[in-house]
Amino acid sequence: MSTTGTGEAASGTGAVEMEGAALAFGDRTLWSGLDLRVEPGEFVAVLGPNGSGKTTLLKVLLGLQALSAGTVRVAGTAPGKGNHRVGYVPQQRAMDQQLTLRGRDLVGLGLDGDRWGTGLRGMRARRRKVDEAVESVGATSYASSPVGVLSGGEQQRLRVAQALIGEPDLLLCDEPLASLDLTHQRTVTELIERRRRETGTAVLFVTHEINPVLPHVDRVLYLVGGRFLIGTPSEVMTSETLTELYGAPVEVVRVGGQIHVAGAQSALCEDTVHHHEHDHTEPV
């Protein structure tokens, strides 16, 4: 990868370039024919019901999952090759209660957890950076508690700090707002938005709820049952387009600058039987 750390890749190189990308497990196709180009500094929200392949899309971009067809490049190279420039907020899962690890240690791993050697030099600068990152997500009061005993929302804020402290050029967030209350949803969203504005970090933001990020979203990728739509929120989030995408009546209501999608859940009832949970194991 030819980045200089400024976040701006060489001209013509997108943060993410996918062409004709398809992914299938056995005879089940998650999505196919996906052309997606994300520019540096662009904020793309990824929406869709459970099991539509949002997490798997991020795995592809991390180089943890190969495509069945098509090509993918991240910052101009094969995915997985420049992962220290990619920040990742994984979909929430409980952490082991017994871990000998404080919140601040989790954040610190995002800074230099992938480096070899002792890292004893520069400890002071490291401590300051970790303190700042912890502070920025409002986690100072519990940063010294064991991570295993923190609530889901508290862990989630630490994870955002962990992803941002590495100063990524591409940020992949898998439902980072889940289990956060409205105040903290705003804190986290604004942090990510600031990173994007100030350093041109591209953001792929998987979410169930578009409203908390709506003011920042440039484009929406909407995945439903093997089909998808890409466009600006005003293009994608209309009754006509979503009805066509779901293949069932869906009503999009706009109230006070917010978008509410009605009928999407029931439209999916017959479709959600075999993917009710995202508890498949990580490829470790």
Partner: protein, 296 residues
């Protein structure tokens, strides 16, 4: 009973060469065991340590029979065990039973090998429960050499290893080579185990490799502090055990495990008292809006 704590006799024995040699070996082992311990505990490898130690016993028994140094036999056995466990026990769900399978076969094989051996029977007993008095100059050299290698490798891989241990999903995403860090760590643990087998014996290695770290984890949640504490606890158990065993001439293993166990109990009590203090403070109208630690 006053034989148990005869200070004068202990002081005199402490000047003997073989005692000093034993203390040197124990100090080295304590350092390595304490350094690896917290990661062993977090990776849930206590049973793997036990299994590896049994195979170190098999290797030592084979070495005894063949007339090569017991240290080399133990080392070979433990490293083979670590590789086997790494290869066969990749899946979490399978690891436990694979260790049981390998452990029992190795132990059985070792018993057969010892049956063939018709040298001094104290040697046989020694590799099961420790034979600190038998540490010789060349053993000590091998011990120090392997310990240095283990510590250097650990220092180099420490951060990625910790990352892969506590947060595998993100570690993988950041390009940490989780796949080969696990077997590499297993080999480090194997080497350390082989060292331990010669001092406290195959059956008791866990007292130095696991107990000190488990105790440390009770009183701190900082990985760095836990490592320092585990080293201190392991040294206390290993060195203290030898010193206490001198005057009565009783088995070292008892004292090592007893000290180690006592430290563990004390740490649990401290953790309990702290937890109670905290919940009392929270109950009596705490100033902080949230409890620092929730009940599990």
């Amino acid at each position: 009973m006053d034989k148990l704590f005869d200070v004068e006799l202990t002081a005199r024995l402490l000047q003997l060469d073989f005692v000093l040699m034993a203390l040197g070996a124990a100090a080295v082992l304590g350092l390595v065991a304490g350094a690896l311990g917290p990661l062993i505990v977090m990776r849930r490898m206590s049973f793997a340590v036990h299994g590896t130690a049994e195979l170190a016993f098999t290797g030592a028994a084979a070495a005894l029979l063949l007339g090569i140094g017991v240290s080399y036999g133990a080392l070979a056995g433990a490293v083979i065990a670590a590789l086997l466990l790494g290869l066969l026990g990749g899946r979490e769900s399978e690891r436990d039973s694979v260790i049981g399978v390998i452990l029992s076969f190795g132990l059985g094989l070792g018993v057969l090998l010892l049956w063939f051996y018709d040298g001094r029977s104290s040697n046989k007993f020694g590799i099961l429960v420790g034979q600190i008095v038998a540490i010789e100059q060349q053993d000590l050299e091998l011990l120090v050499g392997s310990a240095v290698v283990v510590l250097i490798v650990l220092a180099v891989i420490y951060r990625p290893l910790l990352f892969a241990t506590v947060d595998p999903a993100v570690a993988v995403a950041r390009g940490v080579p989780v796949r080969w860090l696990s077997p590499l760590f297993a080999v480090l643990v194997g080497v350390a185990t082989a060292l331990g087998v010669q001092i406290v014996g195959a059956l008791l290695v866990v007292a130095l490799m696991v107990t000190p770290a488990a105790a440390a984890a009770r009183v701190t949640s900082s990985p760095w502090r836990a490592t320092v504490l585990a080293v201190v606890f392991a040294e206390a158990a290993a060195l203290g055990g030898i010193v206490l065993s001198l005057a009565p001439g009783a088995p070292v293993s008892f004292f090592v495990t007893a000290i180690s166990f006592t430290i563990y109990l004390v740490c649990r009590v401290i953790a309990y008292l702290r937890g109670r203090q905290r919940s009392l403070r929270d109950l009596s109208g705490s100033d902080s809006p949230r409890a620092a630690v929730r009940p599990s």
